[in-house]
Symmetry: C2
Subunit: 180 residues, 2 copies
Amino acid sequence: MGLSRKCILFVAMSLDGFIASSNDSLDFLKSIEKEGEDYGYKEFMDTIDTVVMGRRTYEKVMTLVPEFPHAHLRSYIITKNPKPTEGNMHFYSGNLSELIHSLKTQQGKDIFIDGGAILANSLFKINAIDEIVVSIVPFLLGDGVSLFQNSLQNKNIELISCKHYSTGLVQLHYTIPSIS
Amino acid sequence: MGLSRKCILFVAMSLDGFIASSNDSLDFLKSIEKEGEDYGYKEFMDTIDTVVMGRRTYEKVMTLVPEFPHAHLRSYIITKNPKPTEGNMHFYSGNLSELIHSLKTQQGKDIFIDGGAILANSLFKINAIDEIVVSIVPFLLGDGVSLFQNSLQNKNIELISCKHYSTGLVQLHYTIPSIS
């Protein structure tokens, strides 16, 4: 879009490409939990001011924590069943392209695409994701929710950085060129 | 098995987990071809003396090159339709566990599992793969032959090393513990 504000998918997956088990469990992430290690999450959060999240991921998050963790940021929960806005939290059931276009034409920091796979793939399809930061967890889940669901075909992407951690997690940062 | 000879899967996949497109094309690998860069292949080949390969991969390889590239090594082509041995090349249609056990109880260098996905997953299922060296190509294929086909479930693996290259290829080397 020629604008500087980017949509960034920041996500963890097993080596075999799953972001959650088939019952939406994130237990596989326990294998890389380490005191004092956030794998760059806080640093990343400092670069964003807006969060876009799918409804199912939102509901999963709310079972894990007492309060919505992004309450201080502007956030959009993408849902088929809209609810009234709560503070900075907007329940959005309109056109996704229009939302992204609207956000990108506003001034601001980058936009955090906080999952899940359905939202990520909807955004891949409309070429709305500019960068992926994917943390590869040293685990084979075997089954579950696939991050990549055939939404981008024959697409070159570009590695920006590769970091590895003592827990065996490898964090890959790619840009997705808008034209491949 | 308590023996030192290892079965190592050395393979390249797209970020979305495919080792070939649905028509068995490897064209996506062209994106990381670079004069003089073999991504550690020769160094790896110096550590092995035996190759195990699936029939479909073997036939694909033979369409790409005039001669079998591992003719100087002992090799086993796993097939349902055995043929007579040709030089060092054995067409094997027996029990896969027995072959691997037999190879591992012999003296020798490590054993190269040279694909494809069917063989790799058959070997995952019988816990016969000790290490994976997976090169992640900065490409989204969208569809094709998946490397991981749900053969290992809820399995912790261990990162040995992570290398990244100027082409954007990232090579991850894991051990698969025989008991998770």
